[in-house]
Symmetry: C2
């Protein structure tokens, strides 16, 4: 990932309103959440949320699909992981005590398989 895209992603996540929305979407998985439903859960005006979803979308972190009258938003997990990898790049610098805690992240994500 290049610097500009990483900055766009981090900027998109760097405001509470958008971070809250993103985290709800992360929980929702591939199914996603409709814009109106998100606005209701977050208790923010629909237009404000729409602007914020557009910013997350432009940063590549989420995507949208239309379903009837609603627009469903969902996380682009590939971009999300690319951003996290960008931050971790060359994190080790040769000393394992730095790297070790990072491995806990994977363990925290305890899926059934793999």
């Amino acid at each position: 990932m290049e610097m500009k895209l990483a900055v766009a992603g981090l900027s998109a996540l760097a405001y509470e309103g958008r971070l809250r929305a993103f985290r709800l979407l992360v929980r929702a998985g591939s199914a996603g959440i409709a814009a109106g439903e998100l606005a209701r859960q977050l208790d923010v005006p629909a237009n404000t949320l729409s602007t914020n979803l557009a910013i997350l979308s432009h940063a590549g972190l989420i995507e949208s699909r239309r379903a009837g009258k609603s627009v469903i938003y969902s996380v682009r997990y590939g971009q999300m992981t690319a951003l996290l990898q960008f931050l971790m790049e060359d994190c080790c610098a040769g000393s394992s005590e730095i790297c070790a805690p990072l491995k806990e992240i994977a363990l925290a994500c305890d899926c059934a398989d793999s």
Copy 2:
């Protein structure tokens, strides 16, 4: 990690000048880099960098220690990983195809041990 601290961390990283500095520090490991040396490598005025380092520091992502006339900055890896974990919280939502790519992050960090 609570929301406010996460937003502070993401905001601190959401600017190219600071993200560049942070990534250099991530590479440097525990040894850290002196403020002046960082300013030289990044080719930015010392006072501008100082302000940006203060923002990263206030967000808990880096710390500083004095060494003679210089001030050495280094990453607080614990806080860094806490921020990444915050973003990944409940990422799985039951489907492993979402979670699986996240595990690659840990594998990309291939230290000698663990």
